[in-house]
């Protein structure tokens, strides 16, 4: 591709910009010719194949422009080309770190059009799996964040627990990463005998290990120094860009779809006060900085454990899937369902004309929306901070590009 466009940085000069750290005055005085650096698409810290065109004055970033589309896989076109049930495996693959949540979002959107009831045990299993997957997703999010900051080992520790979690999912649905377990009308099959007690064992171990990660990485002094006061998202900015999920709670905006627009069993869970929504308080620096977002993710893992325990406590035998025909014909209409993905609001907007195939299957990927804020956060940061900022948005490129 030789079509080069003239590049306009978000802000031309860095004067008049409030200093973030208080320790960078001498970097500001140094002026050199601006240099354009291409971060990605093959770069160890872009979490896949995103590309950020960075304009830098030495180490200081004066402008940044994310370029997407290196993993565009036409998920929405496929959604309008294959049958309703056939599309389910594709939902696994846009946010491959939280495939259960994607399955859940799509199934709920289709179920909303169909207007059917889900068996209670299926809802329990759905909630349980979605929350377990949230833990797995946050483990990778924090682990790779540590990796970006330079801490290699916590990443491997977190993968150890994730490996266990994957083994649990493998037992229940046969796949490690792309589950397709949550189906339209329920779940694919019942949990194998003894599975629930294994989940309980996982929870017990995880609570111990979580403390370890928290002390080793989140509270690590260097980690705090690297992430606090960096990439501050204010409340107005968060709303303006439509951020959701931990990005929003990292700016202390009290919003969680599980509590505020309850779906599945979250209504009951909230009534039992089984979990809380962790809100950042700007403990280590400015409110809404990278550390706050990482902290919110870390705390959410423990809240997910609480929800899993609630489900384990309340689960009862029963059917796990309703009477769903192999070839679905969905009543005409359109529905939008947003659920709380580990990264934010995962929206599925489906349109049916009464046929076997969807008219439109829109996926509102939280990563895609959250990433847009990058252009705004980058100018004024140092080169090393760009990595911290990209990491703190916790994107999955499969979802930004779909």
């Amino acid at each position: 591709m030789s079509t080069t466009k003239t590049y306009e940085p978000s802000i031309s000069r860095t004067e008049g910009r409030p200093l973030a750290g208080g320790e960078r005055e001498y970097m500001i005085d140094v002026r050199t010719q601006d240099m354009e650096v291409n971060m990605g698409p093959q770069h160890p810290a872009t979490h896949g194949v995103m590309r950020v065109l960075v304009r830098a004055d030495g180490e200081l970033i004066t402008g940044a422009q994310p370029h997407l589309g290196y993993l565009h896989r036409c998920a929405e076109k496929i959604g309008e080309s294959v049958e309703w049930l056939q599309y389910l495996p594709y939902t696994d693959r846009y946010d491959y770190l939280a495939a259960m949540n994607n399955n859940l979002g799509y199934s709920m959107a289709v179920e909303k059009l169909m207007g059917i009831e889900i068996p209670r045990r299926a809802m329990m299993l759905r909630t349980l799996c979605a929350e377990l997957n949230r833990i797995g997703s946050h483990l990778i999010a924090i682990g790779t964040y540590g990796l970006d900051i330079g801490a290699f080992t916590p990443f491997l520790y977190m993968f150890r627990e994730r490996e266990w979690m994957m083994a649990l999912f493998e037992k229940i649905c046969g796949a490690r990463l792309t589950y397709s377990y949550i189906r339209i009308g329920g779940v694919f099959n019942d949990a194998p005998p003894g599975w629930l007690s294994e989940v309980e064992a996982f929870c017990d171990t995880f609570e111990v290990k979580w403390r370890e990660y928290y002390d080793l990485l989140i509270q690590n002094h260097i980690f705090v120094k690297r992430t606090a006061d960096i990439g501050v998202i204010t409340r107005e900015m968060a709303l303006d860009f439509g951020l959701t999920g931990p990005m929003l709670r990292g700016s202390a905006i009290d919003w969680d779809l599980r509590r505020d627009t309850p779906y599945e069993l979250y209504d009951e869970i909230c009534k039992d006060k089984a979990f809380e929504i962790p809100l950042a308080s700007g403990e280590k620096g400015t409110l809404g900085d990278c550390w706050d977002r990482a902290w919110v993710r870390a705390m959410e893992m423990m809240e997910s454990i609480k929800i899993v325990r609630w489900c384990l406590d309340k689960i009862e035998p029963g059917p796990v899937i309703g009477d769903i025909p192999k070839t679905l014909r969905i009543p005409p209409g359109e529905a939008y369902v947003g659920i709380e993905n580990p990264r934010g609001e995962l929206g599925h907007y489906v349109v049916s004309d009464g046929g076997k195939i969807a008219v439109r299957c829109r996926v509102r990927g939280p990563s895609f929306v959250n990433l847009a804020v990058l252009e705004e956060l980058m100018p004024g940061a140092l080169l090393a901070d760009t990595i911290a900022i990209i990491g703190s948005t916790d994107i999955v490129v499969g979802e930004t590009d779909r």
């Binding site: 030495g58 900051i149 520790y157 980690f223 120094k225 990595i387």
Partner: protein
């Protein structure tokens, strides 16, 4: 492949000059190799050939030591990182993967020799050679025992510091000539970082130098003798209470000097791809790699000479009492002591590498200039006052 690489030639030249210099100073008398050669020299060999042969052998030994050190260190690094991370590390290539460095080395040697199109070819080729050569030169000042060394300088530590800091020139050359922005970033960071940390490194070393009253590594080690080989180490607070903070400063500074985490900014993998060596491949890249590990070992050895007794340890004193001073047993004890102490330091550096996140460039600079340098000065002042007014009255220091 197998093109002429000036590294060996260049480093040989550096070594030759140094060895000749030290030989001249000491009147060709103190080098163990030379003593040996004088003993076995046949009549018809002219006398001037002896130092030249000794220099040649010394160069060979230093090269061998550096390569073996680097290879062993890479293996150690992979095993240490593996075990820290609940893995095994290399297991299949030889017993517990001990042949891994050999396989890596041969593979790197056989890789395509690649020079990027836009690179400055001359600088690009010279840079890794310069980096390795300056380190090889510094290694020559490392005495293996009290009587077995290649170059015994009166100002040994200055020699080591001066030569190791010239690696920066090589790194900057590498970064500049690669014609890659990541390389340039890495090189600039290296330059800034090394310049900032040379100061606290040198100043913190002044504390043990003051106590020992010498710049010579062997003399510093001898000054810590006695006390069962352990009680007179400089690091103990009863020798000088400012020694421990000075050592901490020294250790932080050598972490930065050797580009190890948390100061591995010049090659920060998640930020700068591979930093100044992004564009290097094959054997040229392995020169940088060897330099890093050899520098780690060298600095740790320097640290153990100045803070942890050098050759002195209970083992050495035992060997000395059993075999007699400068007996073979004593020399073996001294050599193994210093190598083990060196690797203990290397292990500590690896441990930190796999535990800590990386700091940011402005934090590195702040720490170097604003905290380490003043603290090092305070240490020197305190240690000097202690040495001048208190140490003379301590019975164990007399």
């Amino acid at each position: 492949m197998l093109t002429f690489d000036p590294a060996i030639g260049f480093s040989s030249a550096v070594l030759a000059v140094q060895s000749a210099e030290s030989g001249l100073k000491d009147g060709f008398g103190t080098n163990a190799i030379q003593d040996f050669l004088v003993g076995v020299k046949p009549e018809y060999v002219p006398a001037w050939a002896v130092p030249l042969t000794a220099i040649g052998i010394a160069i060979g030994i230093v090269l061998a030591i550096v390569s073996v050190l680097a290879m062993f260190s890479t293996w150690l690094e992979r095993k240490v990182s593996g075990h820290i991370q609940c893995r095994f590390g290399p297991m299949r290539v030889g017993w517990h993967g001990w042949l891994q460095p050999l396989a890596d080395g041969v593979k790197l040697l056989l890789k395509e020799d690649m020079i990027p199109l836009g690179a400055d070819r001359t600088l690009y080729v010279i840079a890794p050679a310069l980096v390795l050569a300056s380190l090889l030169g510094a290694m020559a000042a490392f005495p293996l025992t009290e009587t077995f060394y290649f170059a015994n300088f009166g100002l040994g530590i200055f020699m080591i510091l001066a030569l190791t800091s010239t690696t920066t020139i090589g790194v900057v050359m590498a970064g500049w000539s690669s014609n890659s922005k990541w390389s340039l970033y890495g090189a600039m960071r290296e330059a800034a970082q090394v310049v900032a940390y040379e100061i606290p490194l040198g100043i913190s070393l002044l504390v043990p130098i003051m106590v020992a009253g010498s710049f010579n590594l062997i003399e510093v080690s001898q000054g810590q003798g006695g006390g069962y080989g352990i009680l007179n180490w400089n690091i103990w607070p009863w020798v000088n209470p400012f020694m421990l903070p000075a050592f901490v400063l020294f250790f932080v500074a050598i972490l930065a000097e050797t580009k190890r985490a948390p100061f591995d900014l010049p090659e920060a993998e998640s930020e700068l791809v591979a930093g100044f060596m992004t564009e290097y491949s094959g054997i040229r890249w392995s020169f940088f790699f060897m330099e890093e590990y050899a520098a780690m070992f060298l600095y740790c050895v320097v640290g153990s000479f100045f803070f942890f007794g050098g050759f002195e340890s209970p083992v050495t004193s035992l060997a000395e009492s059993v075999g007699g001073t400068n007996s073979l047993l004593h020399q073996l004890g001294a050599a193994s002591t210093i190598v083990l102490k060196g690797f203990a330091g290397v292990f500590l550096m690896m441990w930190l590498r796999w535990t800590l996140p990386r700091v940011r460039i402005d934090q590195v600079m702040t720490m170097g200039y604003k905290y380490l340098t003043p603290l090092a000065l305070v240490c020197v002042l305190g240690a000097g006052l202690w040495e001048a007014f208190i140490a003379p009255h301590l019975w164990w220091r007399s």
